[in-house]
């Protein structure tokens, strides 16, 4: 199917015995749909990022070298690199242990290990304050014994640790996927050739994961470069400023002249870093080796006498970073104020009540739900069309369309927020909730495009060709075959968008306008305003509801 060309149009009036010589118009259904998809991507991606680049210009480049910005930049860089390294180490080790050894309780361990991905980072930060903040039970007890707290989660080390906790599942996901693509017979061949089981794993499988490891590192480094929730909750009290918290401060309090231009300049630098990482990732992917599919399942590596120790270590570690913070969150929710010891007498539902009845909570929940719902619907429609076009038709612009549509996934939310902030006054969205909506759509469109792309690119294009031969036009084949096949995946992606957006903080906090406080912002404000028990209670409720929602959505995504 080549794209249309006007020179081959049929001559009207030519006699056609038994066949109707149908004229191909340049405006056939497919071309219109493609045009609409391009317009949507232009409006959602090209225009905001373009105007951010234009506004940034070059006149504010000097501000990048001012003390505040340099310090924040260094802090961001160090925390992102350190946390990416940690995430790859933790994620890689867990992937190998779970996928390729006989550790007990694999399925449950995998589920627990992935769970931090389902908890919004700022909620994780709040729960760790309950677990290892200065007023937490552990630190209080330690101070009573030794005069000073054991370890406070506030500060650079806490920020890095929390970034690791919330990004290692991504690394684990990437490395697990790569691990499953390594055919088991490669290791079996090494065994036959005389290598021991651990040696076969270390010399055959692990080297083949290099591409995935590098890819996981760049991805987590970029996404951690501009995380907002964790550094603002854990870093700010210790004056550990990162670029994202700096930008937030500039926008909120206007401590610099022309704050929009300054943050646009910072945004452009971050955008450049993100795009560079994206290019790197593509280059890494290109140099990776090609693997054949293998039918035989991998034989798990027997841990032998190390099995109990390995089990205790991995289960203990995973539970400590997943279950313990949630328990701390629960404990905080049941206490009236921070620092009060948990005894049967002090348990109260006051905080939960306060959280649920606070005036902001209900409106925040309503705002979040309609914003997330609307974003999900829009993303589903646009993502369905783009995902279908790029996987089910042949056209030269498919790759560009796909790349542009999924690019925002690799760009920090901070940059997306700044880009929309820059263009908002010009399109009349300044200080309206719609600004948050369009930013959500930009940010999460990739979720739907990717969930359509993955299953559909495996089906050969003959599905549509069979429809064409059966008498369907291009547009009709797209409607009857391609879109219909893509629909379940797109809806699954849309549910994911809704569940992600409803608990979002970065975009919502930076694009905050009167009357558009989302749930995330309500929790964040409660935490910042000293109501940390109410914040914990609300965070717990949102997390539990969110996990339940994901659990319900999971079977549909298959």
């Amino acid at each position: 199917m080549r794209s249309s060309s006007s020179t081959l149009l049929a001559e009207p009036g030519r006699p056609a015995a038994g066949l109707s010589l149908v004229r191909r118009r340049l405006t056939d259904g497919l071309s219109l749909v493609r045009l609409a998809a391009w317009l949507a991507v232009a409006a959602l991606v090209l225009v905001p990022f373009g105007s951010m680049i234009v506004l940034a210009g070059t006149e504010h480049l000097a501000t990048l070298f001012e003390g505040d910005v340099v310090e924040a930049g260094l802090n961001s860089l160090v925390s992102s690199l350190a946390s990416a390294l940690g995430a790859v180490l933790v994620g890689g080790a867990l992937a190998l242990i779970i996928e390729r050894t006989d550790i007990p309780g694999k399925g449950a361990l995998r589920l627990f290990a992935f769970s931090p991905m389902l908890v919004p980072p700022f909620v994780g930060a709040i729960s760790w304050v309950g677990l290892a903040g200065p007023a937490s039970p552990v630190n209080r007890w330690w101070r009573e014994q030794f005069g000073e707290p054991l370890w406070s989660v506030y500060g650079a080390d806490g920020v890095i640790m929390l970034l690791i906790v919330h990004s290692y599942p991504i690394a684990m996901l990437i490395i697990t996927a790569a691990l499953r693509r390594v055919p088991a017979d490669l290791e079996q061949a090494a065994r036959i050739a005389g290598a021991s089981a651990p040696r076969a794993m270390l010399t055959v499988t692990v080297p083949l994961l290099r591409g995935a490891v590098l890819s996981a590192f760049t991805l987590t480094a970029v996404s951690n470069l501009a995380d907002f929730g964790i550094p603002s909750i854990l870093g700010t009290p210790e004056r550990f400023t990162t670029l994202s918290t700096l930008v937030y401060r500039y926008i909120q309090s206007g401590t610099v002249d022309d704050p929009l231009a300054v943050v646009a300049t910072i945004g452009v630098v971050l955008l450049a870093v993100a795009l560079l990482a994206l290019v790197l990732d593509v280059l890494i992917g290109r140099t990776s080796v090609e693997l054949d599919a293998s039918a035989s399942p991998a034989e798990p590596l027997p841990l032998g006498r190390w099995r109990p120790a390995a089990a205790v270590l991995s289960w203990g570690g995973v539970l400590a970073i997943t279950l313990l913070p949630l328990l701390a969150l629960l404990e905080q929710s049941l206490l009236p104020a921070p620092g009060v010891p948990l005894t049967p007498e002090t348990i109260t539902t006051d905080s939960i009540e306060r959280a649920l009845t606070a005036s902001g909570t209900i409106t925040g929940a309503v705002t979040s739900i309609w914003l997330a719902g609307l974003a999900a619907v829009i993303c589903t429609v646009i993502g369905l069309v783009i995902g279908t076009l790029v996987t089910r038709t042949r056209a030269r612009d498919n790759r560009a369309l796909h790349t542009l549509a999924i690019m925002p996934q690799a760009i920090p939310g901070l940059v997306i927020a700044v880009a929309w902030l820059v263009i908002a006054p010009r399109i009349g969205l300044f200080n309206t909730p719609w600004l948050i909506l369009v930013a959500y759509v930009t940010s999460f469109l990739a979720l739907v495009v990717q969930s359509v792309h993955a299953p559909l690119s495996a089906t050969p294009l003959t599905a549509e060709e069979a429809a064409r031969v059966s008498g369907a036009s291009r547009g009709r084949a797209l409607l009857d075959i391609s879109l219909r096949m893509a629909m379940p995946a797109a809806i699954g992606g849309g549910v994911l968008v809704a569940l992600t957006a409803v608990r979002e903080l970065t975009l919502s906090a930076l694009l905050l306008s009167p009357g558009s406080q989302t749930l995330g912002v309500v929790i964040f404000s409660l935490q910042q305003g000293g109501g940390s028990n109410a914040a914990s209670a609300l965070a717990l409720i949102v997390t539990v509801v969110g996990l339940a929602g994901l659990g319900l959505a999971a079977p549909r995504r298959r």
């Binding site: 081959l8 010589l21 149908v22 050969p460 069979a466 031969v469």
Partner: protein, 357 residues
């Protein structure tokens, strides 16, 4: 039930490589034509040009007297009135069997009751009566391919295009569907163009076989023509596993360069002078002796398929009498051969020039 004629078709791919060059072919009404050739020879490209998925850069395609591609215009695949079966069946997973099969009728706006009747008939014809409500995911590979065939036939296409339609199936099933396909197409008197990489399948099914190489037609003819009178050394090698020997042929007979093979002139058909000699397996007999060493000996129903190393030349033959073992020394007896002009080894020349024998 229609004719297909191609007139000097050229196809070029977007990257500039040539897919087809000056293809001219007339498929008669009700004829079963098989396209064969090594991979990359252009056989699938030719089929896709007939279907309308590729636009020829030059030349014209004519179905039943109507130009579907060429200077006069271009008719999209959906308006060509064809049926097509793909290698990977392409049965739509989101619809049940009945919905899949009736789709071409829907496109023609056939009323519902008639659609149902035609669908039932088409499914019965391929041996899947009563399968209308089945989910394609619950069918076996062979059943899915039958669904695809029913879908291709339901609207009574003018031409049936088969793109490696049987190649993805297991051997016993492929054999059965081959028989059914022939019975069905003869019963319906269908014009069929069948692309396959399976040489025996092409020879077995087709009225005429078209052999392509390098984007050109190298020979068109009845199966026995291609087997007994290959148009070039390349055709003989591809279709019949002929051994090719360089040498000189004159009134005295044939003498190979650097090889002991000598043949009297009466045993050699074809060109004179510097030639490439094609020796078909059927023209070779072996007996105990000292000329050649057996390098492989595969059992077959009608004789063993024996490959020998004969003074550096690999020759293939069928031995009905007994099955030699690998390493046995044998004497090779060649009783006839076909000679082609010497330059003809890679032979990707148009048909007209290469009618040699």
């Amino acid at each position: 039930m229609a004719t297909v004629s191609l007139d000097r078709i050229d196809v070029r791919f977007p990257d500039g490589t040539v897919g087809l060059r000056e293809i001219s072919l007339d498929v008669r009404d009700g004829e079963f034509v098989a396209l064969v050739g090594p991979s990359g020879s252009g056989k699938t490209t030719l089929l896709r040009a007939v279907a309308g998925f590729l636009r020829p850069a030059a030349g014209s395609i004519d179905i039943d007297g109507t130009v579907v591609a060429g200077a006069g215009g271009f008719i999209e695949p959906e308006h060509r009135g064809l049926g097509m079966v793909f290698q990977q069946h392409a049965v739509w997973p989101h619809w049940n069997v009945g919905r899949n099969v009736e789709y071409p009728l829907r496109m023609q706006r056939v009323p519902k009751a008639r659609r149902a009747a035609l669908t039932t008939a088409a499914l019965e014809r391929v041996g899947l009566g009563g399968y209308e409500r089945r989910d394609p995911a619950t069918l076996s590979g062979g059943q899915r391919q039958r669904v695809a065939l029913a879908r291709a036939l339901v609207a009574e296409p003018r031409v049936l295009l088969l793109d490696e339609a049987l190649s993805a199936l297991d051997e016993p099933l492929r054999d059965r569907l081959r028989l059914e396909l022939q019975a069905l197409t003869r019963e319906l008197d269908l014009t069929v163009i069948h692309v396959t990489h399976d040489r025996d399948e092409a020879l077995a099914l087709a009225d005429r076989v078209v052999m392509l190489d390098g984007g050109r037609i190298v020979q068109v003819g009845a199966p026995e023509d291609l087997v007994e009178r290959p148009a070039s050394a390349a055709v003989a090698r591809f279709l019949s596993d002929a051994a090719l020997v360089e040498g000189c042929l004159d009134a005295e007979g044939f003498a190979a360069y650097n090889h002991p093979l000598r043949l009297p002139a009466s045993a050699v058909a074809g060109a004179r002078g510097a030639v490439t000699l094609a020796v078909l397996p059927e023209a070779i007999a072996i007996e105990p002796g000292d000329d050649a060493v057996v390098t492989s000996s595969l059992y077959g129903r009608d004789g063993s398929d024996v490959v020998l190393d004969w003074a550096g030349l690999s020759v293939r033959c069928r031995s009905r009498a007994h099955r030699p073992s690998v390493g046995d020394r044998m004497r090779v007896v060649v009783d006839r051969a076909i000679a082609y002009p010497a330059a003809d080894v890679s032979a990707a020349r148009p048909l007209a020039e290469s009618v040699a024998a």
